[in-house]
Symmetry: C2
Subunit: 341 residues, 2 copies
Amino acid sequence: MKTINIILLGYGRVGKAFVRLIQEKQDFCLSRFNLHIRLGVVLNSRGGLILVPDKEGMGTLSDLAQGLKLEELPYWRPAMDFGKARECQDLDVLVDCTPSNIQDGEPALGYTHQALDRGWHVVTANKGPLVVDISGIRKKAEKNRVSLGMSGATAAALPTLDVALHSLSGAEIYKIEGILNGTTNYILTRMSKGMEYSVALREAQDKGIAEPNPSQDVEGWDTAAKILIITNVIFGTAYTLKDIQVEGITHIPSELREEARAAGNALKLFGRFVQNGKLPLLETKLSLIDPSHPLFGVDGTQKGIAFFTDTMDSVTVTGGKSDPRGAAAALLKDIINIYRG
Amino acid sequence: MKTINIILLGYGRVGKAFVRLIQEKQDFCLSRFNLHIRLGVVLNSRGGLILVPDKEGMGTLSDLAQGLKLEELPYWRPAMDFGKARECQDLDVLVDCTPSNIQDGEPALGYTHQALDRGWHVVTANKGPLVVDISGIRKKAEKNRVSLGMSGATAAALPTLDVALHSLSGAEIYKIEGILNGTTNYILTRMSKGMEYSVALREAQDKGIAEPNPSQDVEGWDTAAKILIITNVIFGTAYTLKDIQVEGITHIPSELREEARAAGNALKLFGRFVQNGKLPLLETKLSLIDPSHPLFGVDGTQKGIAFFTDTMDSVTVTGGKSDPRGAAAALLKDIINIYRG
């Protein structure tokens, strides 16, 4: 049995779902993978908990999994921060559930580098550091012989990088098209039934699908960040947000919607990479697709990605839960895959 | 650079496509994975070639890739067989492209065991040994610390096992539904447009999609073999063909076709596993699906598989080339994934 001690950064919706999930999956991870996944440290912006190596750790995990707030627990330390956590022995994996800042990646980018320097693996749901400095992060991980788990930041429970890097080994990918954002796809699906944008957005907000401030999603930046990371990881490139043309769903001409409906086509927000000689095209773009497209029928909060290859034709993945539990499952997957070897 | 010497068993359509593919992908495998994939031995039922360690090996690969017959090459040895090949040094991976015999697995089953005993990895497009003795083969591979690549026998270029074992790590799969046979799916797609079974079958045969003797496909046995292998590998079980209810597409009641067409549904041949308490259901069954099913729209020779999980909802993969080149690409993928670690 291998014991893995996690340092969890961020205790919002995804962080909480992750704690509940590792509690729920303790026995399964042990019996199936011989892995004992423990919570070692939990940090939010106000302080943190250390659960390693005291034996109460497991009890605390249960308390957390049952929904208690960090501050209510006996081990709560307001003075705890990332610097102090770095001094802890026995930690193995940083799980980053802090909010994505795709402008400069901070503060997560600094924590990521420090974690890699500390010899910790990094498993992240945070797109920021990967958008801003994917090359530096990958180089440092390789140099320090630790792993990066990026599923949580690249459409989460929908496998994207996994499939490209593992299931398509040996094939060369010349185009990628993805519906990578559940919120915009939900709104577009409702609009395809005749609903106006503002009404569909409000409905999505009422259902907890869209954020109170939805701009990252509806203006296309979340999709842009994901296709950027996916492209850079697959091809070892270092494109930035400046290299990608970004379009959102906030100003769709009514003629375009009418055209789609009349022809039985669907209007989707695609993150797209096209290998185009030496000048690849990267874009987030509203795209009209007909029923023969492999992503036709990917509706509501569902996501999907299609890889077009030289030897295997297109391989398309769809589905994967678009909620905090799905994101937590993607983080757990990456942890397991690091250790099963 | 790591050099990998292949022993290729079987030189039919898939074997030939594999030889062309490793010739075509030499530079790519070297630059991307630092792997030099060479052909060491090629065997068919009449004899074989040894290409290791003589330097002409590469020339011979080119000759083969250009379509020359084995018997026409200067290194052809009519007396060559698997027993003699086992005495060769420096071979690393057995690639099995011999026809599937799902009754007793032979002769490939014997070769598989001998290869594993010899310390070779085994990468196979042959369902027979995996249907008949998956437990014995896996145990032996584990004991001898060699790997099994089974993509070529489990829907080939459509990733199935990869996704279940890697992309869904930590999730528990309670149901699998797959369109796993391109021939039957092609025929069913044509029948959905009003064509009679016998006409659609003949068209598929004329196009080289269906075999002259199509019974393995149209009676459901190919699908049964695939869902059986996929299930046994994922769950570590040892079900046999006797445990699976098998239905084909040769006698579809016209009312059922009419019902599907009238309701806008599709009739598909599913390989299906359902975790049903302690008595799992395994079947190959004609299934009516509506447009909300994730495999709706998987038409023609396309394949697809949907995994239903506890934490990630359903994850569906579709596409992947259904021809010898796609099968060869799946074999190459498995080889690369063994060595990239």
